[in-house]
């Protein structure tokens, strides 16, 4: 049946209703390209094995999971896990990720939870599948399941390999019809042959040959090309559009509220039309600040919407009064952009009362509901299919592109591809939020810290929620108007486990909802708030250590309480060849070197980093020459993946620490490309990275590795600069200009 016949057959569409998730991958009625107007179940039932696993007649395995590949190799790790539990070769396993019609809603990927949630679900499904297959084989071969063994997808009787039956023969093409137990009996990790091994990534050979298919490479028949035109000033209203304007290739100018887009036959025509379309916008009062000094002043003085105190011990205010000395410092962390390599891209087909949207964002499942709301469709009429995007590092502009494409396709009645431009991507993506910190430490007369006061004041990192749950969470929804976002406040607290006798951490979040239709709305950027809070806290720990006349590593080891954290700090210092110093060494001479340590726990993962820098006292220019990383994410499914992810996290975080602050004036974001938003360059790459893995033992729990390396990087570099130069830079980015200014004051 070809696609057109399928569309005509009407009733056949409901066949998919009868099949749970992954089982539809084997269905003959499943068209190669899903058709807008069809219906899909509101949810793929998580308790059914057939939602996760399908085995074809030839024994090949399809596994469906509600997570996505963000470029760190998790699809290889997932394949390892499925192959391991089922005892099939990896090359027989195909993954389906992030298709709302075929894989269980696990919300998508975020918070470094891919292995923790997706991996454990696939392990359970694999184990349940293996048990079900063994039960079928026991019946077929007439022996108890305990006497059966499996090799490469073939079940045989122990001691008599002539009595055998393959997975394909047992269940191929049919459903399991069993439920996944709460805790199915998975393999003993000590027996692993595939999991835990350094398996090369399956996607890289395709990527280096230009054959890996990204969302930007995807097209459907009859597709048009669109570009969006965002308000030129923050808060500007669309007053009028010249709809009679003749533009080459123009199919339609789409405008709803303040949403404006052009749709053309060819892509280059859409690019030109977006530049040339005549539209009149209002000139609203400035919404932003003249620069960062004014922004941080605002954060320090504005009335908080929410305040939260955590980790309170003793009486901080009383202890500060009794202190022989009080050390205090202010730290600042800027807006940062996801600045993905490719600006957001999506294809949407909104016709016949339904929608299929192909998206490169991390969370296709909440996006489905948001698009249904935006389009006024029942959720059963909407299908979101994830395809690989450029690295997204959280809530980048991918979901905005999906919403744009959906609105535009609905308006023109044809499939539409939206490719955002660089200025949309850097200038308009949701930003990592700025935070202003005030840190105080009370030092006793015998040089101990007995009071610790952490205060963060910032826009919530979640003005835009950690997923696109509602139409109002998208720029299109905001500009069309009438949709509310699901904003949430989240405290911006550091996570270290120091046991100072009197301590508290306070986080104030400042209202910033009116930023929603602008390029300064805030959202999750890799390790949300983590590098900022750790920068303030771990920089100040060094300042406190020096105030007590204690070496920074020694100070941490004395004050920390968690054994895994102590082990990480020790391991990093030892591997780095830490040179103890009770005050910054700041050697004489123009070119000087220093070491700095910082550590940060994150949801069970622990990372300690020693940075070594070489700095030029005359210019403020410096380079990180070496990172040493102690990394405890528990049992590692694929050490090659984790190694690559650690290194990449280091370079991205070094880039954010050294270079990155979104520029703005009072009315607009002025970081719109790679010149106005510079990032790390090959000439800056360190000479060496040494990684010590801790806790990597079969049987240990696996924690997420996608983000935690990011957390301590800015503090480690700032601490190394302090050691080298004797001066402290307390505002990110740690630019040569900032270093020089610190040297000269």
């Amino acid at each position: 049946m070809d696609r057109r016949d399928f569309l005509k057959s009407g009733g056949a569409m409901f066949v998919t209703f009868a099949l749970p998730g992954c089982a539809t991958t084997m269905s003959a009625s499943e068209p190669p390209l899903p058709a807008a107007g069809a219906m899909w179940p509101a949810k793929v039932e998580p308790e059914l094995l057939d939602s996760w696993l399908a085995i074809a007649a030839d024994g090949s395995v399809t596994a469906c999971v509600g997570k996505i590949e963000a470029g760190m190799g998790i699809s290889t790790a997932f394949t390892q896990i499925v192959a391991e539990e089922l005892d099939v070769p990896m090359e027989r396993v195909t993954l389906v990720m992030g298709d709302t019609a075929q894989s269980v809603d696990q919300r998508g990927t975020g918070g470094s939870n891919g292995i923790m949630q997706g991996g454990s679900a696939l392990r359970a499904a694999g184990a349940e599948g293996r048990a079900a297959l063994l039960a079928l084989a026991a019946e077929r071969l007439k022996v108890p399941a305990s006497e059966l063994r499996v090799r490469d997808g073939v079940v045989y009787v122990a001691g008599d390999e002539s009595r055998r039956v393959s997975y394909g023969e047992l269940v191929g093409g049919r459903q399991f019809n069993v439920k996944v137990a709460e805790k199915p009996k998975a393999k003993d990790p000590r027996e692993y042959r595939i999991v835990g091994k350094p398996v090369p990534r399956l996607d890289i050979p395709q990527k280096v040959a230009g054959r890996y298919r990204y969302i930007a490479d995807f097209s459907v028949p009859e597709m048009l090309h669109a570009r969006v035109v965002r308000p030129p000033l923050a808060g500007a209203k669309l007053l009028s559009v010249d709809e009679a304007q003749a533009l080459p290739g123009l199919v339609k100018i789409v405008h709803r509220g303040d949403f404006l887009a052009v749709v053309c036959e060819r892509e280059e025509q859409a690019v030109a039309a977006a530049k040339n379309v005549r539209a009149e916008w209002s000139k609203p009062a400035p919404m932003f600040w003249p620069g960062y000094d004014a922004l941080y002043e605002h954060l320090r003085t504005a009335k908080p919407r929410t305040s939260r105190t955590e980790g309170e011990r003793g009486d901080v205010d009383a202890a500060m009064k009794m202190a022989a000395r009080v050390v205090e410092a202010r730290y600042e962390y800027p807006f940062q952009s996801h600045a993905s390599m490719g600006p957001g891209c999506a294809v949407a087909d909104v016709r016949r009362g339904g929608a299929v949207v192909w998206s490169g964002g991390q969370k296709p499942y909440p996006l489905r509901g948001a698009l249904a709301e935006l389009l006024g469709l029942p959720v059963e009429r909407v299908r979101v299919m994830w395809m690989p995007g450029p690295g997204s590092y959280g809530m980048n502009d991918a979901d905005d592109a999906a919403a744009d494409a959906a609105v535009i396709s609905q308006a023109v009645g044809r499939p539409v591809r939206v490719q955002l431009m660089r200025h949309d991507g850097t200038g308009g993506d949701p930003k990592g939020p700025p935070i202003a910190f005030h840190m105080r430490a009370g030092v006793s007369s015998d040089n101990r810290i007995f009071a610790w006061d952490y205060e963060a004041r910032g826009f919530s990192g979640r003005v835009r929620n950690n997923g696109t749950d509602h139409a109002g969470d998208t720029l299109a929804g905001q500009l069309v108007g009438g949709f509310k976002p699901k904003h949430s406040d989240w405290p911006q607290l550091s996570t270290e486990s120091y046991a100072f006798p009197n301590a508290r951490k306070v986080s104030h979040t400042i209202d910033w909802n009116r930023s929603m239709p602008t390029g300064l709305r805030t959202a999750h950027l890799r390790d949300p708030d983590g590098m900022a809070t750790c920068f303030a806290s771990e920089s100040f720990v060094d300042e406190a250590a020096y105030a007590c006349g204690v070496d920074p590593v020694e100070f941490r080891l004395r004050s920390l309480t968690e054994p895994r954290e102590i082990a990480a700090v020790k391991a990093a210092a030892e591997k780095a060849g830490w040179q103890p110093h009770a005050k910054p060494r700041a050697p004489a001479g123009r070119i000087v070197r220093g070491q700095g340590i910082a550590y940060g726990p994150r949801n069970g993962s622990i990372v300690a980093i020693v940075a070594e820098v070489e700095a030029d006292r005359e210019t403020g220019r410096y380079r990180v020459t070496r990172f040493t990383v102690a990394h405890d994410v528990g049992f590692v499914v694929n050490p090659l993946n984790v190694h690559g992810t650690i290194e990449a996290n280091l370079m991205q975080a070094m880039s954010r620490a050294m270079h990155e602050a979104v520029r703005f004036d009072e009315s607009r974001v002025t970081s719109v490309d790679w010149i106005t938003y510079p990032i790390v360059d090959m000439t800056e790459v360190p000479d060496a990275v040494d990684i010590v893995m801790l806790g990597n033992t079969p049987g240990n729990k696996s924690y997420g590795a996608g983000e935690p390396t990011t957390r301590p990087v800015a503090a480690a570099i700032a601490n190394a600069l302090h050691d080298a130069l004797g001066v402290r830079v307390r505002r990110v980015p740690l630019t040569p200009e900032a270093v020089l200014a610190a040297i000269r004051t």
């Binding site: 890289i204 990527k207 390599m341 790679w674 360059d681 090959m682 790459v685």
Partner: protein, 158 residues
């Protein structure tokens, strides 16, 4: 007005019809369906669109199709000496697992291949400098640098 252009792309003669100022990238991707080169910035700042034009690495997003008339264009898909094989730089990227999302790879691989062709004995500093105009947002730089040096050493042995 749209015009016809004859190009040789990955060894094949192609004729495309487009406005002369259309970026070569757009023509490669949309008319010839070669998706190795990527749209990253459209400004020649990131390198994700890099292809070889008569053997020189250029930014195809900032190169009008008219200026490629009659030229030999090579994309990531056509870099290998023969169908079904890999260029030594591509193989080194696999061996060093030098990718995260991989969106930027045309930039690194095509630039490195041209660099090593031009300067087979490039020093560490020359390689870093030669690759300094490229962006990788994931931060894959360390494994990329190792891969380029691995390719260099293998080319030396060949």
């Amino acid at each position: 007005m749209a015009e016809s252009f004859d190009l040789t792309v990955n060894g094949r003669r192609e004729r495309v019809t487009a406005e002369p100022e259309t970026p070569l990238l757009t023509v490669l991707r949309n008319d010839l369906h070669l998706h190795g080169p990527k749209f990253g910035c459209g400004l020649g700042q990131c390198g994700a669109c890099t292809v070889h034009l008569d053997g020189t690495a250029i930014r195809s997003c900032a190169t009008p199709v008219a200026s490629a008339r009659g030229a030999r264009v090579t994309t990531l898909e056509g870099l290998a000496p023969r169908e079904g094989t890999l260029h030594v730089v591509q193989q080194a990227f696999i061996d060093e697992q030098a990718a995260q999302c991989g969106y930027c790879l045309s930039g690194w691989i095509m630039t490195a291949a041209a660099l090593l062709e031009r300067n087979p004995h490039a020093s560490d500093a020359e390689i870093r400098q030669g690759l300094s105009g490229l962006k990788c947002r994931c931060g894959t730089h360390m494994s990329i640098l190792r891969a380029v040096k691995l390719a260099q050493s293998r080319m030396g042995r060949a």
